[in-house]
């Protein structure tokens, strides 16, 4: 996590059944959070799906996506190096907490058990490794999901309204934690949200999409 990364969206244009949906040309620097806002139907989630490599075949896109200058537009999702956080923590229900963390670690990670232990300590859940994720509170699950993402050593991150399902008193705290970690790791981040408070806490540029 030493190197600092940057992400470039070059002349992106997405169409749905021939009708233009959105176009974008921007650069996200190391540790920067670009917030994309807009009503539903404005193409926020399609933008996210295109960047992650999951875009449905109903859409057509032209333009390039570059990570540290390398063109990753045509790469399959698992080789892009782009991590994802959803609205729900999506901790695998059949694995333990520590199993979830180890699941995403790169193969070459020397001591996965120790790395998982260390990661849990960093989010204040040191003794939770052997636990069943279903027994954790919503906030705890979100923190594990964040740490799973970080330990997979992504080079860029996409956030899909990751705070919208948290209790309001947890939201601010969780935002600080997520943005702090992503900034420290120098990861370019794209945040999709409805919530202006999210954009404010992210502290970066805000892009409004029209319906």
């Amino acid at each position: 996590m030493s190197a600092f990364h940057h992400l470039e969206i070059e002349q992106l244009s997405i169409r749905l059944h021939g009708k233009p949906l959105l176009s974008l040309d921007t650069r996200i620097g190391p540790g920067e959070v670009l917030t994309v806002m807009g009503p539903s139907g404005s193409g926020k989630s399609t933008l996210l799906a295109w960047m992650a490599g999951f875009m449905s075949r109903d859409f057509e896109a032209s333009g390039r996506l570059r990570l540290d200058g390398r063109d990753i537009t045509a790469l399959p999702p698992e080789r892009r190096g782009i991590g994802l956080l959803f609205q729900d923590p999506m901790l695998f229900p059949h694995l333990s907490v520590s199993g979830n963390l180890r699941f995403g670690m790169p193969r070459a990670t020397p001591d996965k058990q120790a790395a998982a232990q260390d990661g849990l300590a960093r989010i204040g859940l040191a003794d939770f490794g052997a636990r069943d994720p279903a027994t954790l509170s919503g906030g705890q699950q979100s923190r594990v999901a964040l740490m799973r993402l970080l330990l997979s050593q992504p080079q860029a991150v996409l956030l899909d309204e990751p705070f919208s399902k948290l209790d309001s008193h947890l939201r601010h705290e969780m935002r600080q934690l997520v943005f702090g970690h992503l900034r420290d790791a120098g990861l370019p981040t794209l945040l999709v949200t409805h919530d202006h408070q999210d954009a404010e806490d992210a502290g970066g540029r805000v892009l409004e999409l029209d319906a």
Partner: protein, 563 residues
């Protein structure tokens, strides 16, 4: 999963199912018109048809088959819909649902034997009512089982088709949000049962239409149940065909082939008649719904729904219990409700001959199910990776459930004979696969498609490969539905009679062929032993399918409900 060309799987499945079906139909069609060089039929003629129509009672046989297809389906569907309309979440409703599900695993033949034992003149019902109510000191001379109208045959089929249609409906219901529909209707003043029939059934029926058509096709052409419960003089068309094919006089095969084509026509006629019924019911139903009656008849409808399904379910269970009892009964005089003594003698006598058929049944069921599961999972995984659009050709999967077995299996047997393939377990497994694969696919696809796509997206975005995502995420998360689908596949295979009998050329015996072979003999003690065995074998699969995931995921709360 190894690097397997997934794109080839859907065409492979279609080829595997449609190929044999077409080959079988053609090899029934040609001899039906006199052409089968292997048996000296060198030129086309109508002689087989003339011979067929000269058979005494042939039209009665055909009408029996047609009627049993339509009546069985109408009654089963009616009972299932009435029951679902009357469900209000009471303990009785839950009990009924819990009792009905395991009946799905019960082979048709075992259910038929159970019913026969219940209603026969010397059966349990007659014993309970005698001599007090009836005055019978000895079994009356009545033709109840194998009655000429086929009523006991239809009753036996209804007992088995109710669980099938009920589970198909329960699987389809969540899509149409019945609770919201009923709540809306009730707010307009409709009583709950009437509301359900008026606002849920019209949306539900299109979703269960295919299983309904499969029931018509099955009931109009069934062989094993008809051999146990059906009339004998004349038997149903399918049973007659089987007899002619088995005739040592090989020239009768031409006539039998014509019969197979006639069976295809009878089943088609039943499907067409059903289609006409659908139109009629739709028209009358619309008038009934638009008239706006909202209270009348609610209580009787509810009572009918619950009591009819309870009657059918209890008949199955009491019949099975009776079979179990007979299999260990010592001396049992007629009017006594219980045997004088219990003995293991019948089991001990049967024991030496049990091993082979049990092993055969198990091997065939396990291998056919494994192949079917592998193909179904591969096709579904392919569908997921391509992005959710189901391959259109896959509707052909349901073809073996709609085309009557008798119509194409004989032809298929002729094909394999002429190719010089000797009847082995392999050939029988291949035959079973035709019927196991559709059910495994049906059972698994629902769960596979419902799994949240974000699970694999998360895994992929963490840098895990597609193969690894399949192995480490989708497969474990779908373990429970996967095992259930396998148990369904095993049950389907274990219950098969005709494919085993025909493709095995009578040389491969399973618990089902053994049990059905005993039907004409009438030794009830031995039948009890085999029918029990036949009922228990598939149940073992379901016990494992339910138990294993609970055991494996006992420390994972998120895996306790089905995903």
């Amino acid at each position: 999963m190894p690097r397997m060309p997934l794109g080839l799987v859907p065409p492979l499945i279609v080829l595997l199912l449609v190929g044999p079906l077409l080959a079988g139909l053609i090899m029934a069609l040609l001899p039906a018109f006199g052409y089968l060089p292997a048996l000296g039929g060198e030129s086309f003629s109508l002689a087989p048809w003339r011979a067929l129509f000269d058979q005494p009672g042939i039209w009665r046989s055909a009408m029996l088959s047609l009627a049993s297809g339509l009546v069985t389906t109408a009654v089963s569907l009616g009972i299932v819909l009435l029951f679902l309309a009357s469900v209000s979440g009471t303990w009785l409703d839950k009990l009924i649902q819990r009792l009905v599900s395991p009946l799905l695993a019960l082979p048709h033949a075992a259910a038929a034997f159970g019913l026969a034992f219940l209603i026969a003149p010397s059966g349990l019902l007659a014993r309970l009512a005698s001599p007090g109510l009836t005055g019978w000191e000895r079994p009356p001379d009545l033709l109840i089982v194998q009655d000429p109208w086929g009523l006991s045959l239809m009753a036996g089929l209804i007992i088995k088709e109710i669980p099938f249609l009920l589970l198909m409906s329960l699987a389809a219901l969540p899509q149409i949000e019945p609770a919201r529909r009923v709540a809306m209707a009730r707010s307009l003043g409709y009583r709950p049962t009437v509301a359900w029939l008026k606002v849920v059934v019209p949306a539900l029926y299109p979703l269960i239409r295919l299983p309904v058509l499969a029931v018509i096709a099955f009931a109009s052409s069934v062989v094993d149940v008809a051999m146990i419960l059906g009339p004998t003089l004349p038997p149903t068309l399918a049973v007659s065909i089987l007899t002619w094919f088995g005739d040592p006089d090989l020239s009768r095969r031409f006539m039998a082939s014509a019969g197979a084509i006639l069976q295809l026509g009878v089943t088609l006629a039943a499907l067409l008649a059903w289609w006409g019924l659908e139109c009629l019911v739709r028209r009358l139903g619309r008038r009934w719904i638009e008239r706006g009656g909202r209270r009348a008849g609610d209580a009787p409808l509810r009572l009918a729904g619950k009591s009819l399904i309870l009657l059918a379910t209890l008949s199955a269970f009491v019949g099975l219990g009776g079979l179990a009892l007979t299999s260990v009964a010592g001396f049992w005089r007629f009017p006594s409700a219980l045997p004088d003594s219990l003995t293991w003698l019948h089991w001990q006598r049967a024991l030496p001959s049990l091993g082979g058929p049990v092993l055969s049944s198990t091997i065939i069921a396990v291998v056919a199910t494994l192949i079917a599961t592998l193909l179904a999972v591969a096709a579904l995984e392919k569908e997921q990776r391509r992005g959710r659009t189901a391959s259109r050709a896959l509707w052909l999967l349901y073809l073996p459930l709609i085309v009557p077995q008798v119509a194409f299996l004989f032809g298929l047997a002729v094909v394999t004979e002429s190719l010089g393939v000797t009847p082995t377990h392999g050939l029988v497994i291949f035959g079973h696969l035709l019927f196991v694969l559709p059910y495994v696919f049906l059972s698994l696809s629902e769960a596979y498609r419902r799994l949240d796509p974000r699970w694999s997206q998360v895994a992929l975005s963490l840098g895990v490969t597609r193969g690894s995502t399949f192995r480490r995420v989708r497969l474990p998360m779908l373990l429970a539905p996967l095992l259930t689908a396998m148990a369904v596949g095993m049950a389907v295979s274990i219950g098969q009679y005709l494919p085993t009998q025909l493709l095995g050329a009578g040389r491969i015996s399973t618990v089902t062929t053994e049990a059905v072979a005993l039907a004409s003999g009438g030794n009830r003690r031995v039948i009890g032993v085999w029918a029990m065995l036949q009922a228990c074998l598939p149940l073992a699969g379901f016990v494992m399918a339910v138990g294993l995931p609970r055991l494996i995921w006992s420390h994972r709360r998120g895996m306790q409900g089905s995903p």
